[in-house]
């Protein structure tokens, strides 16, 4: 089963799904973190040990962009239905998934002669005029609190600048990805090792498969993301983190309850993490149920060697009747095709250059 087919089965299911999955915001609903927490009421479902029952399959895709768009620089939240409707319409019209005219032309990461300035193969894959646009599944609405970016802190809605060292690492990484000299250069996502911009941790909406299933048993919570089938088993029994010498792509997660909020603390990461975070990433995720079908999901990235200050994201997990399916990523890997293609292009370019030299 390659990943394309896995997605197709989801796409088929989606066709039959009603568009009204995402609850519409209540008019005048306030949108701060504390307000969301304040909405928590005593009637939420509970597990046998009295904790909020967070179990279920949740969708976390949204039209809301990660960072606040330039044109909304002064606007942290939309304030009325008309604004939201207009903005959602704008997003759809500029979304290559929906709008033919929005699709970039001639985007080809491994074709130097047609370089159009897109530097990141992942961006080409996710947003471009790629073979797989039709089954993408980004959600149909912005986040329910009408925030204009997923980044909630700092207040400008932008991920803070990277440190000079981290910038250098990121630039080097992009150069290596463009060179496509070996599998190790392609990045952890394409290599099917870890999806720092999808299932994570942290969970970041991606154009497809933004589904997570939560399981609870006494003393532990399991966060199982479709991307890429790593069940994150989070002990809640007060044990310490693993020794720093053990590093996993998805880090080491431990958790505890703060009132109605599940707090998950993750360290022991490897080098390549969300938005350019490095192995010193200290991730704090907060899951606060706000009604039987919705969890407020926030995460804070604390990584002083990668970012000049810490930053946070606010999103919502919306319960769905859908399932989390097997995502056999490596088993349907494109790495051989990508590298082979790059070598063919190089050979062709070298032959053309040699021919030109002969003609001179």
């Amino acid at each position: 089963m390659n990943k394309g087919f896995v997605i197709s089965s989801r796409a088929l299911a989606l066709v039959t799904m009603v568009a009204a999955l995402v609850p519409r915001p209540v008019a005048g609903q306030t949108s701060t973190v504390s307000a969301a927490a304040a909405q928590t009421n005593g009637n939420l479902p509970r597990t046998s040990d009295g904790k909020p029952d967070l179990q279920g399959v949740f969708f976390y895709g949204t039209l809301t962009p990660m960072q606040r768009p330039h044109e909304l620089a002064e606007k942290a939240f939309f304030t009325n239905d008309e604004e939201v409707a207009a903005y959602e319409k704008h997003l759809r019209e500029t979304d290559p998934q929906v709008s033919e005219s929005a699709r970039p032309k001639n985007v080809c990461a491994s074709c130097p002669e047609k370089d159009d300035g897109v530097t990141d193969p992942d961006i080409v894959f996710a947003g471009g005029n790629s073979f797989n646009v039709f089954w993408q599944d980004k959600g149909t609405h912005i986040v329910r609190d009408w925030r204009t970016s997923l980044v909630s802190n700092p207040p400008d809605g932008k991920i803070p600048p990277m440190t000079p060292e981290a910038k250098k690492v990121a630039a080097d990484r992009i150069a290596r990805r463009r060179g496509q000299a070996s599998a190790e250069d392609l990045g952890v996502a394409i290599r099917c090792l870890f999806r720092p911009e999808a299932g994570g941790p942290p969970m970041v909406p991606f154009p497809y498969n933004s589904y997570v299933q939560i399981f609870q048993t006494p003393g532990q919570v399991v966060i199982y993301n479709e991307m890429i089938h790593r069940a994150r088993i989070v002990p809640l029994d007060g044990r310490p983190h693993l020794p720093q010498s053990i590093r996993d792509y998805s880090g080491d997660s431990i958790g505890h309850w703060e009132g109605e909020t599940l707090v998950v603390d993750t360290t022991n990461f490897k080098d390549e993490n969300v938005a350019g975070a490095d192995r010193n990433l200290h991730l704090t995720e907060r899951f606060t149920p706000i009604d039987a079908a919705t969890i407020h999901y926030e995460f804070t990235v604390d990584d002083p060697t990668a970012f000049t200050k810490s930053w946070s994201v606010s999103n919502y997990l919306t319960k769905t009747d859908d399932k989390v399916y097997e995502y056999a990523c490596h088993e349907g890997s494109d790495v051989a095709v990508i590298l082979n293609g790059a070598r063919i292009v190089e050979k062709k370019l070298a032959e053309e250059a040699a021919k030109k030299n002969e003609q001179k």
């Binding site: 090792l193 089938h229 056999a328 088993e331 790495v335």
Partner: protein, 265 residues
């Protein structure tokens, strides 16, 4: 009629009450919240079934330079009756697989191992048991599968790890697994199946730190009849033991993609 039904019911009860191999007399498993035996925990097999599910002698490995480190340990096998009832063509195929085992075993490429092989890979796995769903998370390849309890939902596609639906029969968790692809093997010795594979797994607590695992294998395209393998599983008891990542695609890249590496100029 009524008598007959009652007798059949009694027989089923009797079957359910029969002790599983290795079960301590009178052992009663602790119960989870919904009244069924609690299978939560980190478990692992001992033995060499992943090398060969059938009885086999110790032997040399592929790389002489690895000496004893690379050698294959012997084992008494886990197949009931030792023999696997292959159809004639399939027995020939199995022998061919064995000859090519150092290149063709899907484990070499870190592909998801399928069921039941995931259970007896030499890595721990964790059972997360809720009343309606059971998640089994394997360290090998970060594999995982969800067991839908008392579910009639059909698989929308084929999967490396199959489509698992569970039910309780007395104190035994029975998992019916279907919708496999034909790309996984049962072991490193080339024992194989087709996409018609149907596995019925049985998990029974036999003591505080042991489970007994049985898998009935049906595949009319490959075998002449169904057959069974079984083995004990042991709880990992180390303090702070965790299922870590064995994110093995990384370890296969030179093997799988090295030929496409850019030659240094």
């Amino acid at each position: 009629m009524i008598t007959g039904k009652r007798a059949a019911g009694a027989a089923i009860l009797l079957l359910a009450a029969l002790p599983v191999f290795g079960q301590a007399p009178g052992y009663k498993a602790p119960l989870a919240a919904n009244g069924h035996p609690d299978l939560n925990g980190i478990w692992q097999v001992l033995g060499t079934a992943n090398w060969d599910i059938q009885p086999h002698s110790a032997g040399p490995g592929l790389f002489p330079q690895l000496g004893a480190v690379g050698a294959v340990p012997g084992g008494q096998g886990v197949v009931e009756g030792d023999e696997i009832p292959y159809q004639p063509w399939a027995l020939a195929k199995k022998k061919e697989n064995y000859e090519k085992r150092w290149t063709d075993d899907p484990e070499i490429k870190c592909y998801l191992p399928g069921v039941p092989r995931a259970t007896y890979m030499p890595f721990p796995f964790q059972i997360v048991q809720t009343p309606t769903l059971i998640l089994i998370a394997y360290e090998y390849a970060n594999g995982a599968r969800i067991v839908y309890m008392d579910s009639k939902d059909e698989a929308p596609a084929d999967y490396w790890m199959g489509w698992s639906r569970g039910r309780w029969e007395g104190d035994t968790l029975v998992v019916d697994v279907t919708s496999f692809n034909d790309k996984t093997w049962f072991d490193r010795a080339g024992n194989f199946h087709s996409d018609a594979l149907h596995v019925i797994e049985r998990y029974t607590r036999t003591g505080p730190d042991t489970l007994y695992y049985e898998a009935t294998i049906e595949d009319p395209k490959v075998f002449t009849r169904s057959w069974k393998m079984s083995m004990p599983l042991y709880r990992r008891l180390e303090k702070n033991v965790r299922v870590l990542e064995f994110n093995c695609p990384e370890f296969t890249e030179e093997l799988m993609y090295g030929q496409f590496r850019k030659k240094s100029q």
